[in-house]
């Protein structure tokens, strides 16, 4: 079952279109990357899913039901602009935010204590948020996002402001949540995150969805049939179906060449190459998400 299906969602603001006919399918138990440059419409879509604003057109269904007020408790949301009540103590804050999500006071207290313990920060309980460091406050905010055990977790730029150690801890938590059956939506423009964590992605640019699919599918779609070969000595390739794109020196007599296959197979290429040189390594050059992202977004702006 799909965790969330958005169909033809459109949102106009006074003088611009924030989302134009966007449809996405987010499979259950996946980590879904919502990618796009700043101002593409990611936050608008997330706010619509969170029912902070309403779409002008289109439907959203969540776990098979049309999105309604009761689904607030099913979603956990970590906004890009982090914020907590500065004057409130960490404990009170967590309990209050969980209560607003529909937990009873008792449940809220128990769970926030458990999380505080899990992060080994029990002594924060009575500290005011304004006395915490930025990273500490981020952890508190992360706890508040997942404490009511939402089935769908939306994280907007979750790693901004975290040092590598804390980012590691949060990554571990996210993977653990996925194991437990949660669906996670990542909104980000940082491609390393996507490369490491996401199973599925959608790319939104200038209010429109321009790409969607599993990470594997997308990469498959954007592979260019180019291979990277390390070999001894130089050569010139004069064969039909193979184009030598680039050749550069790595060390003494070792060179690296990029060869695109227009007809024929990789095996065919290897057989051909053995006539020219001694092969040290042979790998397919798969585009990184970053490369796909940049080529698509740039292509978009050139239209």
């Amino acid at each position: 079952m799909e965790a969330l299906i958005a169909t033809n969602v459109t949102k106009h603001y006074a003088n611009h279109v924030a989302l134009n006919d966007v449809s996405i399918n987010i499979p259950s138990h996946s980590i879904y990357g919502l990618l796009g440059p700043n101002g593409a419409g990611k936050t608008t879509l997330i706010r619509i899913i969170n029912q902070i604003i309403n779409a002008d057109k289109g439907q959203i269904s969540i776990f098979g039901e049309p999105l309604q007020a009761k689904h607030i408790g099913v979603i956990g949301y970590l906004p890009e602009e982090r914020g907590l009540y500065k004057k409130l103590k960490v404990g009170e804050q967590l309990v209050y935010l969980a209560q607003l999500k529909g937990l009873s006071k008792k449940e809220a207290t128990e769970r926030s204590k458990a999380w505080i313990k899990k992060f080994e920060v029990t002594d924060w309980w009575t500290k005011k948020v304004e006395d915490l460091s930025k990273g500490m406050a981020q952890k508190v905010q992360f706890i508040s996002t997942v404490m009511h055990e939402p089935k769908l977790i939306i994280l907007d730029e979750p790693f901004s402001g975290f040092d590598p150690v804390n980012a590691q801890i949060i990554t571990k938590e996210i993977l653990e949540l996925k194991e437990k059956g949660c669906t996670v939506i990542f909104s980000t423009h940082r491609m390393e995150t996507v490369e490491d964590l996401c199973d599925h992605i959608a790319l939104i640019n200038r209010s429109e969805k321009i790409l969607e699919g599993s990470k594997k599918q997308v990469k498959e779609k954007y592979r260019s049939n180019t291979y990277r070969v390390e070999h001894t000595g130089t050569f010139a390739l004069n064969q039909n179906g193979f184009t030598l794109l680039d050749q550069k020196k790595l060390e003494d007599n070792v060179y690296q060449s990029e060869i695109q296959i227009s007809s024929g197979s990789a095996n065919h290429l290897i057989r051909t190459l053995t006539d020219y040189t001694e092969i040290h390594s042979f790998t397919e050059k798969i585009p990184t998400m970053s490369e796909i992202f940049i080529s698509l977004v740039k292509g978009g702006t050139h239209e």
Binding site: I52, I53, N54, D56, I72, E81, G83, Y85, Q99, L100
Partner: protein
């Protein structure tokens, strides 16, 4: 609704647990009575310890028989010029009173020489001594017995009754008027103080960005309503504590230092007839206090207090949501303060003078001025239809402003760094959800 209640509870606890709330709640009511206590105390000490001022006097007609608790009169037998010299030299002497031979029916030429400017109070006291003496002389001349004179004094307490309504009601209600006007002023202060707090709270939520987390859990309207109602409950609590503290403390101060002792003195000095008049006055006062329809006033006060607070609270909330800092909010304060100022000045100019005049009536009916104006009018008696109309309009006004405010609020809280003016607010208001 459950979530609104959670927000109310949170707001209430946040404010009440603050030290500043405790300080303001306990200290402010202590300040007024303690200032009064200090003043009374100093005055009393001064009166008791101050030595009598010595006044020399020259009495050419041999008519002056000084009798005063405040001054020590010493007869001067030398000439006026010598006495003046003496006054300048002798530090003990406070002043020199010169009484020439006078016609008691037309006393002229009495002079007081002093070494410094004297206060009106002292001058009045000396005047009084002279006038009393001349009165005595006149009584002797006309052969009037003092007892007869005293018995001429009559005290009439006029009982006025308003028969315009179905029930004849006593309209002599100076006390109620006072209570009403005081309530109007309190209302004005309160709306301002707590309205500003709503605004500040919302600006804080907005700038700390916590608002986005909250509105993913509750509707913006619920958050706004919870905030307004939460602060209302803090306000009511503070208010009740103040009233209790101020009345008890003021009572204590008065009974300890002021009213009691001076009244006893006055009474002991008075003739039986005067005492009877005094008792009559005290009885009237008690009767009037008993006649103040406290339930009626308190119920109306609470109604108009809440209504007025909610109307203005919603507006303060809208302004808070639109701006990023309190300084930016200034530009929107004018339309909020204007009707309140009109009501406030209307209270002192129109309502006290002519509570049933058209301006007073309208001020007490239009929702934005009615909470303050109606409290001022209540004491004078308000026709039932006006009261009901005013209350209905106040409820309507509250719903209207809250609706408008909520539409601005839901957009405003998510906007950062926008330059906001009235046109932008109008655009937000019109925006689809």
């Amino acid at each position: 609704m459950n979530k609104v209640f959670l927000i109310i509870q949170r707001e209430f606890l946040n404010r009440v647990q603050k030290k500043s709330f405790l300080v303001a709640t306990i200290l402010i009511p202590l300040i007024f009575p303690s200032i009064m206590a200090v003043l009374f105390y100093v005055k009393k000490q001064q009166d008791e310890t101050a030595a009598k001022k010595i006044i020399h006097y020259i009495d050419e007609g041999k008519i002056f028989e000084p009798d005063s608790k405040k001054f020590e009169f010493v007869r001067e037998t030398s000439t006026l010029a010598e006495a003046k010299e003496n006054l300048k030299k002798d530090e003990q002497v406070f002043a020199l009173l010169y009484i020439p031979e006078i016609d008691i029916s037309k006393p002229q030429g009495i002079q007081l020489f002093t070494k410094s400017k004297i206060s009106l109070g002292v001058q009045g006291d000396i005047n009084y001594v002279l006038e009393e003496r001349i009165k005595e002389l006149k009584m002797e001349r006309f052969k009037i017995d003092r007892a007869i004179l005293d018995s001429l004094k009559t005290s009439v307490s006029l009982k006025t009754t308003d028969i315009s309504g179905d029930v004849e009601q006593e309209s002599n209600s100076g006390w109620i008027v006072g209570v009403g006007v005081a309530a109007g002023i309190l209302m004005y202060m309160f709306i301002f103080i707590y309205g500003a707090q709503i605004m500040q709270g919302i600006i804080e939520e907005k700038t700390s960005k916590v608002v986005e987390v909250i509105v993913s859990s509750v509707r913006p309207f619920q958050l706004m309503l919870g905030k307004i109602l939460g602060l209302a409950s803090v306000g009511l609590l503070q208010f009740i504590i103040w009233i209790i503290l101020i009345t008890t403390l003021t009572g204590v101060v008065f009974s300890y230092f002021g009213i009691d002792s001076s009244q006893q003195q006055m009474v002991s000095q008075m003739t039986p007839e005067a005492q009877a008049a005094q008792n009559q006055f005290v009885m009237d006062l008690h009767a009037n206090i008993d006649k103040i329809p406290f339930t009626y006033l308190i119920c109306n006060f609470l109604f108009f207090f809440l209504g007025g607070y909610l109307i203005y609270g919603a507006m303060f909330a809208a302004v808070g949501s639109a701006v990023d800092s309190p300084a930016e909010a200034q530009q929107f304060m004018f339309p909020i303060t204007l009707p309140m100022l009109i009501a406030y000045f209307g209270l002192f100019t129109f309502i006290i003078d002519d509570p049933q005049g058209p301006i007073s009536v309208w001020l007490s009916i239009i929702p934005f001025t009615s909470p303050i104006a109606m409290m001022g009018r209540l004491g004078f008696g308000v026709p039932l239809w006006q009261l009901i109309l005013s209350q209905v309009l106040l409820i309507g006004g509250f719903i209207l402003t809250t609706w408008i405010a909520a539409r601005i609020y839901r957009v405003g809280i998510l906007m950062h760094g926008t330059k906001v003016n009235y046109k932008v607010l109008a655009k937000w208001f019109m925006m689809k959800n």
